[in-house]
């Protein structure tokens, strides 16, 4: 009796401690359920990775978290408040950096856009821009246009623009999917150290299972048609993580196997 009385209270208390909370979220687009009855809580400072077969609604879930989509039913909350419109303290890093950057603005100008939106006075912008570009490893490229930069540099620039929002949460949609392996590993480590320094909450969508395990505190795997949670794996690998030792860790390999089997089963 005592137990059953306590259990619902805990369930009600859980979304409040969460920074990002999905409660029974369903999204129907064009008569087709894309995401169904999705419940999810992301703690402040947590690094959550989302994987799944293509078309499982992982990007959609991210857009719901950013309030770029509104759920058909259910509730998305951020810090206990319902997400009815995008917020500036939630930054979203798109996969297609080439389309998300303003081609007519320089690197500095692209970062400036976020500062302008936040209402930072013009006099303070230059200093902030320099600091942000330095933070993402582009200190000498302020005057370059996106078209003059490599893919990795463009994605760094987009991350700099997102950091300019001074976000509490960073939503990343397959941010490194289009980059080569070496660039990707470098950026993974940079994101980890940027996030560790600022205790930002991250939801990171990827189709790369190893990347998910390498980065995350927790990995969830979505099942397709309609999108719903199929597996949830806490990742207890030690931090800071290292491209060689972490990936050779037996626990890493076990998690990789488990996740791989899940994806294979979900595609079958």
């Amino acid at each position: 009796m005592a137990l059953s009385a306590v259990a619902p209270k805990q369930a009600a208390a859980r979304p409040q401690s969460a920074q990002i909370a999905f409660s029974n979220v369903t999204l129907i687009l064009g008569g087709k359920p894309i995401v169904e009855d999705l419940s999810l809580a992301v703690k402040p400072g947590e690094f959550l990775c989302v994987v799944g077969a293509s078309g499982c609604g992982k990007t959609t879930a991210l857009r719901l978290a950013a309030a770029l989509y509104q759920p058909t039913s259910g509730l998305v909350q951020f810090d206990g408040q319902a997400m009815t419109a995008p917020r500036r303290d939630i930054a979203i890093v798109f996969q297609d950096y080439g389309k998300a950057l303003l081609p007519w603005r320089t690197a500095a100008g692209n970062v400036s856009l976020a500062l302008e939106a936040t209402g930072i006075p013009a006099a303070q912008r230059a200093g902030r821009i320099d600091a942000l570009l330095k933070k993402v490893g582009l200190p000498n490229h302020a005057g370059k246009y996106p078209a003059e930069m490599s893919g990795g540099m463009q994605q760094r620039l987009q991350i700099a623009r997102c950091l300019a929002q001074d976000p509490k949460a960073l939503l990343m949609d397959e941010p490194f999917g289009a980059l080569d392996a070496m660039t990707r590993q470098g950026l993974q480590d940079e994101v980890l150290s940027l996030v560790a320094a600022s205790s930002t909450t991250v939801i990171f969508v990827t189709h790369d299972l190893e990347e998910a395990i390498y980065l995350g505190d927790r990995v969830i795997g979505l099942l397709p048609n309609p999108g719903r949670i199929g597996i949830e794996l806490p990742i207890d690998l030690p931090r800071p993580r290292d491209q060689l030792t972490t990936r050779e860790n037996p626990e890493f390999l076990r998690l990789r196997r488990e996740l791989f089997d899940f994806i294979k089963a979900s595609e079958a």
């Binding site: 995008p86 917020r87 798109f94 998300a100 303003l102 007519w104 302008e116 939106a117 078209a147 929002q165």
Partner: protein, 254 residues
């Protein structure tokens, strides 16, 4: 490159030469034709007494004022309708009903309302310029990269900032094309209004030459109007390449 240009000039130059020889050999006296040499002389004297320059000023003033007026209206409406689909649907029938009216058909009304002179001509040129700018701007705005619109939403830009910082710069290369097109139309309509009724500018001057049976002067004006149109288009093309060379590069890249 140079050799190609010389070759391209060979045909028109030799045709003019043949025409000159023929006109001289038959001692041409005509109300509609004159030998090229006479046209050059007429053009020179019209330039020297300033008549052609005054007329050019009047025509270009009307054309550009109309382009500015109509272009501004078309630009504002195009951005509005491109961004707000419901408003677009609301206005669609009205626009499609007014748009096909040939601008010259408004001459009688404009004449009663505004009388002879610049104002009437500017109004008609303006009417003609609204539509290409509106239609092309609307299309350009609709095709702004959706990801950029999402970025503007995620950053919570105000509607004014969204237009100023995202939509207009993204659509600018195509908006410029719309204005280039409208500039050509503006010149055509301005000269047409002058030929039809308005007693100013190059159109009126070419009519005066025709009625005075000065075939050489008439053809000199015709040549000059062609030159103005060519210069206008070449100037705008050059401007486009200068302004949007980089943007065009980005587009090809993406």
């Amino acid at each position: 490159m140079m050799a190609d240009r010389v070759k391209a000039l060979a045909l028109p130059v030799s045709l003019l030469l043949i025409f000159e020889i023929w006109a001289r050999s038959v001692h041409l006296h005509s109300d509609s034709l004159a030998p090229p040499s006479a046209i050059v002389v007429a053009l020179w004297s019209a330039l020297a007494d300033g008549a052609i320059l005054t007329a050019t000023r009047d025509t270009l003033l009307s054309a550009f004022a109309g382009l500015f007026l109509g272009g501004s209206i078309g630009l504002a409406l195009g951005i509005l309708l491109g961004l707000l689909q419901p408003v677009d649907r609301l206005m669609e029938v009205t626009i499609e009903a007014i748009r096909p009216i040939p601008s010259i058909a408004l001459l009688p009304i404009a004449l009663i309302a505004l009388g002879f002179g610049y104002r009437m001509e500017i109004a008609i040129v303006g009417f003609a310029c609204v539509w290409p700018v509106l239609i092309l701007t609307r299309a350009a705005v609709r095709e702004v990269e959706p990801r950029l619109m999402e970025v503007s939403h995620a950053l919570r830009l105000s509607p004014a900032d969204r237009v100023r910082k995202i939509v207009v710069p993204a659509a600018l290369p195509r908006i410029f094309v719309a204005f280039r097109l409208a500039a050509g139309i503006a010149l055509i309509v301005a000269v047409t209004v002058e030929i039809a009724i308005n007693p100013i500018g190059l159109g009126a001057a070419i009519m005066a030459a025709q009625q005075g049976l000065q075939a050489d002067l008439m053809l000199a004006y015709l040549f000059w109007i062609g030159l103005i149109g060519f210069g206008l288009n070449a100037g705008l093309n050059l401007m486009q390449a200068r302004l949007f060379g980089r943007a065009a590069l980005v587009r090809d890249d993406a």
